[in-house]
């Protein structure tokens, strides 16, 4: 009987070994030739050593219509699932294995394995990370009208949205069936060259419209991280991609029921910020790189920019203030003068809502000439897009600190958490210009007739501009106590840290509603 026992146990080990080998040596070698890591190498990088617990290793394709199946060909059914620790905190993973039927989503892998991860991650309120490298739905299993029973994954993602962080790491192709996973995720890093996403893959596009295009040209990181804004951060390779996922998660709590983790820092909370006078020009017309201000103000080495290459006229990302996670929203004068346009509003609104959902306080660094005006932006629907940012900033109930560095004009001031948007602390630098519009624009509207009637219109105009300019200074706003203080720029860090500390026990009650109607 002992032999029987050991042979049964041996069978188990043999089955495990076979499925751990993924699609076999040849497919694995091909994966490496493409510059990609295997699914199991990626998981090793994602989790703290020795913490990965796999569910469904022994899964494989099953006969769904009573016909033959080649279960030998689909170890783990092409998707590795389970959980492990990221910096000591539990995180769940759904990782597609391109060496097994091109990582296609089969009935077992999707309806049982991935579904179980989504269910358990939500049950325990832990983040989900998708490592995407998949040809999409496994058409061999799903080409008929049994399609009627599919699609829960996106409904599940919507239920998880704002409850647990969702990351879709793009490490290979991701077409059709899988492309809405990143579409609904909170963070989407993309590997340069090897990753792509599109609602229809190249072959489907050819059949549907006749367009000749490759998956990469249509949906690579050069499109999504630079033009469409669907991708967040372009990364060089798989290793960097997984490291970026870990970094992202470090700023967020495991769920909306928790506060983000606090880390130790050597950077003193009351440090005076040196060198801002060398970064920020006094002339409100002149440009500079606001990221230099962010790096100087927040805890050293903690700045993590999100969507750095898209809608660059606004800068968003995570940093830490005295060890506490914060979401930074800053105008970028170096790009388009820092003017807000449709994409910038869209980018900021989504980031603000993510921070608010996950209890990450917001810090607004304001230097904005306003929203872009003109016929071009009206055709784009800038009112609708700008309203998203207005909505997100109003809606956010996390602690909010507003620092007006230089310009705060028009609705640009509002969406950057002006006084009306209930900031917990709102201060201005001595350089600040808060106004409905610049003096030049104001003179054109208010004094148009006087200027036209003048014998020397240009001189009159210039004189009126100076009259109005004298009314634009932070002491008028501070005199009315509309802002809390005017601060020495060097005090910015201390004021932010104190402002966040002041608002730590913030609680805002609003009227019951099913949900608001954000102008999406």
């Amino acid at each position: 009987m002992g032999d029987d026992y050991s042979s049964k146990v041996e069978e188990l080990h043999a089955r495990r070994k076979k499925n751990l080998a993924m699609g076999g040596d040849e497919k694995v070698a091909k994966q490496h030739q493409r510059g990609k890591l295997t699914v199991r190498e990626r998981i090793d990088l994602l989790f703290d050593p020795g913490t990965f617990v796999e569910l469904g290793l022994l899964a494989s394709q099953q006969s769904v219509r009573g016909g033959e199946t080649d279960s030998d060909g689909t170890p783990a059914d092409g998707v590795v699932t389970g959980h492990g620790d990221v910096d000591g905190r539990q995180v769940w993973v759904i990782a597609y294995d391109f060496t097994v039927m091109a990582g296609s989503m089969g009935a077992v892998g999707e309806q049982f394995k991935a579904a179980r991860v989504r269910e358990l991650a939500l049950r325990y309120r832990k983040p989900v990370v998708w490592l995407l490298d998949s040809a999409g739905a496994r058409i061999q299993e799903a080409s008929g009208s049994t399609f009627a029973g599919t699609g829960w994954l996106f409904a599940d993602q919507v239920v998880m949205s704002g409850v647990i962080p969702q990351v879709a790491a793009m490490l290979g192709p991701c077409a059709a069936g899988t492309a809405y996973i990143p579409g609904l995720a909170d963070f989407v890093p993309m590997v340069k060259e090897t990753s792509s996403m599109s609602l229809g893959g190249a072959r489907l596009v050819k059949a549907a419209t006749g367009e000749d295009v490759t998956d990469h040209d249509m949906g690579g990181s050069q499109v999504h991280c630079y033009e469409s804004g669907v991708g967040d951060n372009e990364v060089g390779d798989d290793r960097e991609c997984v490291a970026t996922v870990r970094r992202f998660l470090s700023y967020l709590p495991s769920s909306n029921l928790e506060a983000p983790p606090v880390v130790d820092t050597d950077d003193p909370p009351d440090r005076l910020v040196a060198g801002l006078e060398k970064i920020v020009p006094v002339s409100p017309r002149a440009a500079y790189d606001v990221r230099k201000v962010i790096k100087a103000v927040f805890d050293e080495g903690t700045w993590f920019e999100v969507k750095p290459a898209w809608a660059k006229n606004i800068v968003v990302g995570f940093a830490r203030a005295a060890g506490n996670s914060v979401g930074v929203v800053a105008n970028q004068p170096m790009q388009k003068g820092g003017v807000l346009d449709s994409d910038a509003a869209d980018k900021a609104a989504r980031f603000i809502r993510m921070c608010d959902a996950f209890n990450v306080p917001l810090v607004y660094l304001v230097d904005v000439p306003g929203f872009m005006v003109g016929s071009q932006v009206e055709k784009e629907g800038i009112i609708r897009h700008g309203a998203k940012m207005l909505y997100a900033t109003s809606e956010a109930t996390v602690p909010k600190v507003t620092v007006i560095m230089r310009k705060a004009y028009g609705a640009g001031y509002y969406v950057m958490c002006g006084k009306g948007y209930q900031p917990d602390t709102i201060v201005a630098w001595p350089l600040a210009e808060i106004s409905v519009m610049g003096p030049e624009g104001a003179v054109n509207i208010i004094f148009n007739k006087q200027v036209e009637a003048s014998e020397n219109p240009e001189a009159t105009r210039a004189q009126l501009i100076e009259t109005i300019r004298a009314q634009i200074n932070p002491y008028l706003a501070a005199g009315w106590a509309m802002i809390d203080d005017v601060i020495d720029p060097a005090e910015t860090r201390r004021v932010i840290v104190k402002g966040l500390e002041q608002a730590r026990d913030k609680k805002i009650d609003r009227p019951w509603r099913k949900h608001g109607n954000i102008p999406v």
Binding site: P284, R285, A286, A287, P333, M334, Q335, K336, G337, G338, V339, D341, P369, G370, M372, V373, G374, Q376, G438, E440, G441
Partner: protein, 70 residues
């Protein structure tokens, strides 16, 4: 050949290069003025300026070619 285009509507405030000039990546080619901001337009790559297609004071549209590099 690389066309350097205007990112937004504005007027050409200062031209800081001329045909034949050698430029490095990130060198300022001209400064646009829009929304009361000075908006530097820089070279996307190193090269020689082949053409400057605008004049100071001219109003340019979003996407309009300002400078051609080769």
């Amino acid at each position: 050949m690389t066309e350097v285009k205007a990112e937004l509507v504005g007027n050409v405030w200062k031209i800081k290069t001329q045909p034949g000039a050698q430029v490095a990546e990130e060198d300022e080619l001209l400064i646009l003025e829009s929304m009361k901001m000075e908006i530097p337009v820089t070279a996307p790559r190193a090269g020689t300026v082949k053409e400057v297609r605008v004049k100071e004071g001219e109003v340019v549209k979003e996407g309009q070619v300002l400078v051609v590099l080769e």
